[in-house]
């Protein structure tokens, strides 16, 4: 039962990463990147590295998200290309 959960987490991880690359709305891309970060934290929990997972969840899904939102406020909401 364990490896099925890991494969599900990996699939969500890859889909979130590809979605973040494709999105034109930058705020939605930031939220998708936070999903990516949280899924990698969950994968680290499943591999037994609780402390690394804690750091990844706090920094990747918390602080980096706020700094990305701050960067979007200084530019435009949608990509120009």
């Amino acid at each position: 039962m364990h490896w099925q959960i890991e494969i599900l987490l990996l699939v969500i991880l890859v889909v979130a990463a590809l979605t973040a690359l494709q999105l034109k709305n930058l705020l939605a891309a930031v939220v998708t990147l936070n999903i990516f970060s949280f899924m990698s934290a969950a994968l680290m929990v499943s591999m037994g590295a609780i402390d690394v997972a804690f750091t990844e969840a706090v920094v990747g899904a918390g602080a980096v998200g706020i700094f990305n939102i701050l960067a979007i406020f200084r530019t435009t909401r949608r990509t120009l290309d």
Binding site: D51, F67, I69
Partner: protein
């Protein structure tokens, strides 16, 4: 950002979330010995609570929570706590950061190690929290877009 958010949902949610995040941050800091967590994660959590307040409540209201402009100095204080603990162990006769030699009378080495870890983690917590808030304040307040662009030209 500079002005408060106009949505009441965001206002109420952030005002409710901020003390909870701060409480979890303090829990993570104080239980760093026994469970996953420690100074870095607790400091990031405390900084995130302050930064969420800055985002949602606006620059003026968030000054009540944490005044901007003192963060850089306090991050230096965190580094000083770390270095002072290490140097105190050096003065007590041991190596740098060897907590068993801290010059505090009346405590045996295991209690001294416990206290030393706590002091180190307090320094790391204050340093990380204040450094992140200082980066945020620097991005928001310091320069306008034109002067940022001017520095690249």
């Amino acid at each position: 950002m500079r002005e408060a958010s106009t949505s009441p949902i965001i206002q109420v949610a952030i005002r409710g979330l901020m003390p909870v995040i701060q409480l979890v941050g303090l829990y993570v800091f104080f239980h760093g010995h026994y469970s996953p967590g420690g100074g870095f994660q607790g400091g990031v959590l405390l900084a995130v609570s302050v930064m969420l307040g800055r985002l949602a409540l606006g620059l003026e209201m968030s000054q009540v929570v944490f005044r901007s402009g003192i963060a850089v100095g306090l991050s230096a204080v965190g580094v000083m706590i770390y270095a002072a603990t290490g140097l105190a162990a050096l003065l007590g006769g041991g190596e740098f950061l060897n907590y068993g030699f801290l010059p505090i009378p009346g405590l045996d080495p295991p209690a001294l190690r416990n206290l030393g870890i706590l002091l180190i983690e307090a320094g790391v917590t204050v340093g990380v929290m204040m450094a992140l808030i200082a980066i945020y304040d620097e991005i928001v307040e310091s320069r306008t877009e034109s002067s940022v662009l001017a520095t690249f030209e």
